[in-house]
């Protein structure tokens, strides 16, 4: 029985495979990076007006955004992706006459479209929470100083809210890296797509492990980058924290970057 199990270990790690197919994995890595970077930046731009509308007192503004976030956070991303990708095919005549068919014909654009809308929903909730976390006294003090609404938003609320939002936004970036693997299911040749193709050609299981190592490298790199960013941007708070924090809290380090918020 032992030789068979040893054979299984050899089956798990196969180095020759990497020589023959490694370059394809790197091509896929590039597509993954493109999808993630474009979707996350567009989602961030979209999240600001959404979070503003969500906090608006006008129900005509707040309710549609509530429904939007409920849909995108409450259903699987794969279902949303199918809805965009296959649904666009059904709407082809209408999209063609609107001059949009070139966009929805392409799996790459469909993925970016679906991922952007999805991450915008999550990011808008992060931003909303971060703005609510800024102490009320800050706003009152700024008003008492006679600052304009725009100046308050830009110089008082924004810098403090962004510091609060930094870590959850990093988690969201990691979530999108992980979620981007779904693009492979709608035929996009990203890292996961290339991996599946190579597996279909070679039936060699190791390729999944090599892909896992690449994904792990990306998510760990983002995690480290975010730790560095957070230290950099909050260094003005370090002395205050050291003076005021109780001993028990200075010993406990902040929670590790948390990819648990990954959502599909």
């Amino acid at each position: 029985m032992l030789p068979y199990l040893l054979g299984w270990v050899g089956f798990v790690f196969n180095v020759d495979l990497l020589n023959a197919w490694g370059w394809r994995l790197l091509l896929g890595l590039r597509v993954t990076a493109e999808v993630v970077l474009i979707a996350c930046s567009l989602g961030f731009l979209l999240a600001w007006p959404l979070s503003l509308a969500r906090r608006s007192r006008n129900p005509l503004l707040a309710w549609p955004v509530l429904a939007y976030t409920a849909y995108f956070r409450g259903t699987p991303l794969l279902c949303q992706l199918y809805l965009v990708y296959y649904g666009a095919g059904e709407l082809r005549p209408a999209l063609a006459s609107a001059g949009l068919w070139w966009f929805f014909r392409d799996a790459f654009y469909c993925c970016i479209f679906a991922f952007t809308l999805n991450t915008a929903a999550y990011q808008s909730e992060i931003l909303r929470g971060a703005v609510l976390a800024v102490p009320k006294g800050q706003l009152e003090a700024a008003r008492a100083l006679g600052l304009s609404r725009l100046a308050i938003a830009r110089h008082v609320i924004w810098p403090q809210a962004m510091l609060v939002a930094l870590r959850p936004l990093g988690n969201e970036l990691i979530s999108i890296v992980k979620a981007s693997a779904l693009a492979a299911i709608v035929t996009l040749m990203d890292l996961m797509g290339e991996t599946r193709l190579i597996f279909a050609r070679t039936f060699d299981f190791s390729i999944y492990l090599y892909a896992a190592i690449l994904y792990l490298a990306i998510t760990q790199a983002i995690s480290q980058l975010w730790n560095w960013l957070e230290r950099l941007l909050s260094r003005h708070l370090i002395i205050a924290r050291a003076v005021t924090a109780p001993v028990a809290q200075t010993r406990a380090r902040g929670p590790a970057l948390d990819p648990v918020s990954a959502e599909f």
Partner: protein
């Protein structure tokens, strides 16, 4: 055909979608004992005095939290299949071990959920004051009783919000099982939309069903949290 008769007519697709919903609910529910239980086990091992055990468990968590859930499912699914084939060969010519796709899906989901939930369990284990276990031991309870009667109830209260988050992730992750050969809600919707060429209708219907499931389990969570906190308000 109108959307109503496509769903609820004599040859409508609503029964298939509802069966798919049932499978989705069953996949999520079946992954809870293995996923959350495995996570608790991992968390206890992470607090073990032996360094090798701690490192191994941390590595497991980092790995499965750092790669796409879809990739984890494939790794578990195909890895399991390969292992079964190897075992079948080892047992002799007549043996051919088949894997049930539903069981494989539950196992794969549990592996991911265990990694996610172990972090929640570790945080809650650290938050239960050590004096509780010490007092319980001083009263003469055996280690099993200390854990079951004293630590676990307090642990559950602290872990509930975190586990609730993971439960909503789990619900949505079951849709990934549709890429293996399980007729869950999403696969039922795919099947229906392929036969009728009406993807908009059926994926919207599937979305609505997912939304009902996740919103109602949100209410369930709120109830459980209220119940767990009833002595603390």
């Amino acid at each position: 055909m109108g959307w109503f008769s496509l769903l609820f007519g004599p040859d409508g697709w609503a029964p298939l979608l509802l069966r798919g919903t049932l499978i989705t609910v069953m996949l999520s529910a079946a992954s809870v004992p293995f996923g959350f239980g495995g996570g608790l086990l991992l968390a206890l091992l992470k607090l073990s005095p032996r360094r090798a055990v701690r490192t191994a468990c941390e590595a497991y968590t980092t790995f499965f939290r750092g790669i796409p859930d879809l990739l984890s499912l494939f790794i578990v699914y195909f890895g399991l299949q390969a292992l079964l084939n190897a075992l079948g060969n080892a047992l002799g010519d007549g043996w051919r071990l088949e894997m049930n796709a539903f069981v494989a899906g539950v196992l794969a989901l549990s592996v991911v959920v265990a990694a996610y939930s172990s972090e929640v369990w570790v945080a809650s284990l650290r938050a239960v004051p050590p004096g509780q276990a010490e007092a319980a031991r001083a009263l003469g309870l055996d280690p099993g009783q200390v854990f079951r009667l004293v630590q676990l109830p307090q642990l559950l209260r602290l872990a509930l919000p975190g586990l609730g988050n993971i439960w909503t992730i789990l619900i949505k992750d079951t849709s990934l099982i549709s890429t293996l050969a399980v007729m869950d809600l999403l696969r039922a919707a795919s099947e229906a939309s392929r036969s009728t060429a009406r993807p908009l209708l059926f994926y919207s219907a599937a979305s609505a069903l997912y939304l009902v499931f996740s919103v109602s389990s949100g209410f369930g969570q709120a109830y459980l949290e209220r119940r767990a906190n009833r002595g603390y308000s």
